[in-house]
């Protein structure tokens, strides 16, 4: 009996030791700075969340280790970030504390609190979905931690909407206005190039903040700037639905020349694409607004059914011919994760590197110092993984260097290729969309 007691006691001690050892960070002894990252890591958007996580992981690795071959990319030649500790400037490794929004507004906001209060992160990257980001921004402001986003909803950088939250909120990539407008610029240009006429436009969108915001932007562009287009229908729909026949029939009823989805999650994009074909619904151009359609699963799932469809984007691997650094980064990403970078992952990497650079420049792990450093960010295009640099507007905290820098991609042979602007195009645009194959 005594020996059983001893064995049990020793076993418990060993197990506790193993447990505690596991809890000790592998960077024990090394200075660290914690940064939070909140993405939908489970649920319907997990595929996108995984992409974003991979991109942030790789950005963290680039920051923490020297990659001279990626020079002059931000943080490629550092080994961590410099921060002042005890009056001395030391090198600290960036450690990411992951948060899972589960794609839900309330969970995203709760994760901000958890990461800020429990984990002591000095900055947060998140949350991809505009509605979740909006709630997370409010919580980040309460916690006094800067939040960098890649969500494009225009409202996110409007002082009258965000109020005090804007103080701690930054967006390094373009906002909806540039991204939505590029499709109208494309429509103008394609009419001239292909001697075709586009008159009637139908807009459809998922009815949360992301879709509604983009739709508002698109509608106001038609009403104020692109008055030569006739808005024949606006069709909001509930995201992640079971089928979209009603939506497609509503579009069909309007008889448009082009349809423009300004807020597609991947599940809906797949259903729409299949239902367009099923209902024999053909227009001159099927236009998407990035988000779910640039996730690799979309083109893999729909195959030839999406051939000739368009999407706006701000990144594409084809840009490597214009900017070799993009190719080097993409090669590294593909080697690690088996897929090319896309718009989502590229934006995630950008915001991570921008935050690390601000921490490094501030030489501080105090959130307010980092916030002030972000306001002074001035990164040239050559140092980013995009075709634009980064400088935040002092009021809206929107990157000012993205104006007019969006692209239009076309699905060709199962991949998104750059189709517009013509200077950046890697393929000759096909217009109108090819008819459905039987």
């Amino acid at each position: 009996m005594k020996s059983i007691g001893r064995i049990l006691t020793v076993s418990i001690c060993i197990l506790t030791g193993i447990f505690l050892w596991g809890e000790i960070p592998s960077s024990y002894g090394q200075e660290i700075v914690k940064v939070g990252a909140i993405f939908p890591l489970t649920g319907a958007l997990e595929a996108t969340g995984r992409e974003l996580k991979n991109a942030v992981e790789m950005a963290t690795d680039i920051c923490n280790n020297k990659y001279p071959e990626l020079s002059p990319l931000l943080m490629a030649e550092t080994e961590g970030v410099k921060i002042k500790r005890g009056g001395k400037v030391v090198n600290a490794k960036v450690v990411i504390e992951w948060g899972n929004s589960e794609g839900k507004v309330e969970t995203g906001a709760a994760e901000v609190s958890r990461l800020a209060s429990d984990k002591g992160v000095v900055g947060i990257l998140g949350c991809w979905q505009s509605a979740v980001t909006r709630a997370a921004a409010t919580t980040a402001a309460k916690e006094g931690v800067p939040l960098l986003t890649q969500s494009v909803a225009l409202d996110l950088t409007k002082p009258e909407v965000m109020g005090e939250s804007l103080k701690w909120f930054f967006r390094p990539n373009p906002a909806a206005i540039d991204l939505v407008e590029v499709m109208f610029k494309f429509m103008d240009a394609i009419q001239e190039k292909k001697k075709d006429k586009i008159k009637n436009v139908a807009i459809f969108y998922e009815n949360t903040l992301y879709g509604k915001d983009n739709a508002k932007t698109a509608i106001s562009l038609i009403q104020e700037k692109y008055k030569h287009y006739n808005l024949v229908a606006t069709v909001p729909y509930t995201a992640k639905t079971s089928d979209v026949v009603a939506e497609v029939l509503a579009l069909k009823k309007a008889n448009p020349d082009v349809v423009y989805n300004v807020g597609p999650y991947i599940s809906d994009a797949i259903l729409f694409t299949k239902t367009f074909k099923e209902q024999g619904f053909m227009v001159k151009g099927f236009l998407w607004d990035d988000a779910g359609v640039v996730t690799p699963d979309y083109l893999k799932s729909v195959g030839k059914e999406a051939e000739g469809f368009f999407t706006r984007m701000i990144y594409n691997v084809d840009l490597r011919t214009k900017k070799p650094l993009i190719g080097k980064i993409d090669d590294m990403f593909k080697k690690r994760y088996g897929v090319n970078m896309d718009d989502n992952s590229a934006r995630a990497m950008l915001k991570a590197l921008v935050l690390f650079e601000a921490i490094n420049r501030a030489q501080s792990d105090k959130p307010d110092d980092i916030r002030k450093a972000l306001l002074e960010t001035d990164i040239p295009e050559a140092k980013t993984n995009m075709i634009f640099g980064v400088k935040f507007d002092p009021v809206t905290h929107q990157n000012m260097r993205t104006v007019g820098l969006a692209l239009v991609g076309q699905a060709r042979g199962g991949q998104w290729r750059v189709a517009y602007p013509w200077d950046f195009a890697s393929v000759d645009v096909v217009w109108p969309t090819p008819k459905w194959e039987k």
Binding site: R50, I266, S301
Partner: protein, 294 residues
């Protein structure tokens, strides 16, 4: 154009409604016989979809041939679920039963994500078109009838008829109905109630499995796909009347049509609201459902 859009709504609503109905009938059987709410209903449908995909990818079986295998697997899964998870809580309070099936939902869904990841998949064209037997949509004077949905509807209807006849004309079916009506009296006349419960689970999960396999012909496959179909199944079963096969069929058609017509003529964003309003109105007028017994 206006007339053809309306007719298209009717056709699309009926086709989709038939598949909804088959998925819901499984819930109706379990609920009707055992009065247990299976919150994991849609997640069994998800399993069937992945099995259908897997049987095509690894054995080259197109869905029409893999359907019996999928059905058998899901039947077995239903029986195992009953024995391991449901039987221990048969006599427990209703709350415990709800918690158990809810826990089952979380388990299946998260295991699905763990095993299959949350990647979106679709049946390859060869499988979805049944090896090319199904071509593009059939155009009948401008009305589009997509073959995968038509096949799914026809097979759903055939299966619903078979289930109905099973309950009406076979001894086992009558025993199931007797158990549903009065468990104690059934025991007194020699019905093995435990075996009936086991069978109802097997049959219920088999139904949702066939529904899932047919749905995979035209729907994406994903670990989270079951949620909205579970919700619809509850509405359809309640609308049609608990334990009524044809009630569930009618309920499925009503929901399919409400979504389709309401979505086009009111607004797509409100198509679910239209379906729910009809559901509430029917319940208000006839609480036992359209075909339920008072």
């Amino acid at each position: 154009m206006e007339g053809s859009i309306f007719l298209q709504c009717i056709i699309s609503g009926i086709l989709m409604g038939g598949v909804f109905a088959l998925i819901a009938i499984g819930l109706s059987i379990i609920w009707g016989v055992m009065e247990i709410v299976n919150f994991a209903h849609g997640d069994f449908m998800m399993i069937a979809m992945f099995i259908t995909l897997g049987l095509f990818q690894y054995l080259g079986l197109i869905p029409i041939f893999s359907l019996p295998i999928t059905a058998a697997i899901l039947f077995g899964l239903g029986v195992v679920t009953y024995r391991l998870i449901i039987r221990p809580v048969i006599k427990a309070p209703m709350v415990a039963q709800i918690v158990v099936t809810f826990g089952l939902l979380l388990f299946i869904r998260n295991m699905g994500q763990f095993i299959f990841k949350a990647d979106f998949r679709t049946l390859p064209a060869k499988a979805a078109t049944l090896d090319g037997w199904l071509g593009g949509s059939i155009n009948v004077y401008g009305l589009m009838i997509p073959p995968p949905k038509l096949v799914a509807f026809i097979l759903s209807l055939i299966f619903i008829i078979l289930v109905d006849q099973f309950f009406k004309r076979t001894t086992v079916g009558m025993a199931l109905r007797a158990t549903a009506q009065n468990r104690k009296a059934s025991q007194l006349v020699g019905v093995d109630v435990d075996r009936m419960y086991e069978l109802s689970w097997g049959l219920g999960i088999l139904c949702v499995g066939i529904g899932g396999a047919l749905l995979s012909l035209f729907h994406y496959i994903h670990p989270e796909v079951g949620l909205v179909f579970t919700l619809f199944s509850f509405i359809i079963v309640t609308l049609g009347g608990f334990g009524s096969i044809w009630g569930a069929f009618a309920g499925g058609l009503i929901i399919g049509l409400a979504e389709s017509i309401g979505g086009v003529y009111i607004a797509p964003a409100y198509k679910f609201a239209v379906a729910f309003i009809i559901f509430i109105v029917v319940l208000f007028v006839r609480p036992q459902g359209l075909f339920g017994e008072g």
